[in-house]
Symmetry: C4
Subunit: 239 residues, 4 copies
Amino acid sequence: MTDVTTFSAETERAIQAVREEVAALHGELVRYGLVVWTGGNVSGRVPGAELFVIKPSGVSYDDLAPENMILCDLDGVVVPGSAGSDRSPSSDTAAHAYVYRNMPEVGGVVHTHSDYATAWAARGEEIPCVITAMADEFGGPIPIGPFAIIGDDSIGRGIVQTLSGHRSRAVLMQNHGPFTIGKDARDAVKAAVMVEDVARTVHIARQGGELIPIPQAAIDSLFNRYQNVYGQAPQGAIA
Amino acid sequence: MTDVTTFSAETERAIQAVREEVAALHGELVRYGLVVWTGGNVSGRVPGAELFVIKPSGVSYDDLAPENMILCDLDGVVVPGSAGSDRSPSSDTAAHAYVYRNMPEVGGVVHTHSDYATAWAARGEEIPCVITAMADEFGGPIPIGPFAIIGDDSIGRGIVQTLSGHRSRAVLMQNHGPFTIGKDARDAVKAAVMVEDVARTVHIARQGGELIPIPQAAIDSLFNRYQNVYGQAPQGAIA
Amino acid sequence: MTDVTTFSAETERAIQAVREEVAALHGELVRYGLVVWTGGNVSGRVPGAELFVIKPSGVSYDDLAPENMILCDLDGVVVPGSAGSDRSPSSDTAAHAYVYRNMPEVGGVVHTHSDYATAWAARGEEIPCVITAMADEFGGPIPIGPFAIIGDDSIGRGIVQTLSGHRSRAVLMQNHGPFTIGKDARDAVKAAVMVEDVARTVHIARQGGELIPIPQAAIDSLFNRYQNVYGQAPQGAIA
Amino acid sequence: MTDVTTFSAETERAIQAVREEVAALHGELVRYGLVVWTGGNVSGRVPGAELFVIKPSGVSYDDLAPENMILCDLDGVVVPGSAGSDRSPSSDTAAHAYVYRNMPEVGGVVHTHSDYATAWAARGEEIPCVITAMADEFGGPIPIGPFAIIGDDSIGRGIVQTLSGHRSRAVLMQNHGPFTIGKDARDAVKAAVMVEDVARTVHIARQGGELIPIPQAAIDSLFNRYQNVYGQAPQGAIA
């Protein structure tokens, strides 16, 4: 455990960039009220390496900084001698690692216990797609993953089995809470913010009476459009 | 697309004033929790010109500034060579443009997915006028607009058809969310803040039991008074 | 209207102190989320004078300062030539004035449209006393006042008739929202904060099932104790 | 009452450390929205002495500082001549003192009227354990304590009787609100934050339909694991 792993200068620069991004993105979980105390965690894959960066376990959000983020290999083992390696990584590290090992297209993973998303999870009920923002972002309902507890690969496996081939980047693990994935850590954080927002809106809507479904063709159209043209594209592609 | 459009000095000053106002007003959407991530948008008409200013697409609220607001003509086409024209405007630009073309009295448009207003929209249910602040501000119930998806003029047309001749400055587009209009951008933002506030209060009220309606004559009296005497008027007109 | 009213140096000092307190207390309405935009208002009686200080109408909470608070006599007429007298006072000034004229023991009045309290008001339903903090602060249920609209003394009269001889310092005016009174402006603001807090807690409690009443003798005991010994008393009176 | 009690330098250092911790921890109650106005209180036992430090009564959260925290003996009597002893301690001091006298393993006590936890208390209904975070933190349901009012030892006795031998560090005192305990003040504050979070999530979940219970064996496994390995442990104990 006292050996120090060394990387190429390019990999070191990539690690540092991910450390900075992952540390900063935890602030978005706080800003949107998705986490309390030390709960919740963000990780990001290091491009071009078999590595990811994740939050340390049980450390206050006020104290997170690039240098105390923790560098792990894709088995979730802390890289010996790396910055922050004197601390334990998030207790959800095994689940993040499982996702990175099994979903190569995923560059970021987020887990929270945000209130409304977790409420749907406590009933094991998927969130129906009744608002256009949800069709844009998730392309349909937010699915439920299996009940699984910490200690082996069952959480990671449940995430991967539920989200593989699914449009949604969010899964509500039963009785537990949301996990989200993305092309990078920022994209996974966006999904964590949006899943709580739609969980809250659809909960409130249904408390007041019957929901109007969105026709499947409209959901498909919104999802395809949003994935392709939203945001800043090369000039000329006015969305 | 590489031509640069030039305007009179007076129009340039008016454009700059609207850029500053529209950029700053986005902060009110954040302050009142009406938006998450990059969702939501404010636009303002440039007085005395066939132009309006709107938020760029998919840009963080932290990064909005007068110079990256986007200047469009009333067809929603970005003015070539204007500040910010290297970015795409909000994906809702066509709807804003449709409103400006068809409602000459409108000087500002706002769109959000604020939670409680969107919850009423997901049921396609207008908000009944049971609190005096709602009578003051909207003069009656908040109406529902048709289901319409992005891609043509159907959202803009739905807004205009619903709000033309209506007292309310807010419409809840079915399964989508609120659009508000005003005499200028600030007035439309106020309507966006107030529609969420009344959507929340009336939702909560109805969860607890039966609502007491306000007599129509009282609604009329409150609306007429508020439109005429509220706020800072010439001295002597004590409200 | 161009005459300037002059007061003794002592009264001027008292006016200035109330201006400062009333301006600052509006910040508490914002802090606790009781108001949006320019809604809500605080006033305070000037001790030893037939005067009170109130918020101007339609001015942003960011712009409130002691010198733009408005000085009124007990008929709600702005004192000519006083600081801020170029603006209109709150549109609720007549209701505040009515309270000061008819309840000499009242030194502060607050009005908001805070969401949960207004929700009870929209049903015309008093808030039952089922939590000890409510027994402490209000000594029983929060009563409903009559439906009354702006334009004459009917709001003020409704407040006075409901609260005279009542333990509660808060009344929920039907379809309108809470008005609170206190021995000074700070005490009335505390009541406004507490009435929203109990309105929210009791609403949530009842959504989940049947409430347990508190025996009347316990309510009486809590109220009497809290009025007499809570807070900082002379040393030795350990509460 | 004018005598000054003196302590060893070591005890004075321990007192000062607890004063600083207890003053700072009140900020967490504000941050998580658990308290309004001057409600709520945190106390911490002074290690190695028959003393604890608690918030003064009726003082604004903005004005709390180490030197105005109040030092009490285990009967809840203010230590004469100690810093802050010119003020009265929290009106809940007797309940805190009873806990310290009867539960020697407890190093911190917190009391709030946080909305969702108090809502369960107003129905006298324990919070069922349906989310894994609750199994981690509390090891099962959050119990209800007896109805008891201030004035004698009945609140303290109710807390001790309910929590002695119970996994939960939180009790919901009927019609009153949560009290939490911990190995130190920080741990008790964490429990206060978490109990409101689970009270809110489970309330929301149940409003939407039937909850899925967590099997007792899974609850036991989660609780045992969390108590032993979560957070920063000696290197090598990767959680």
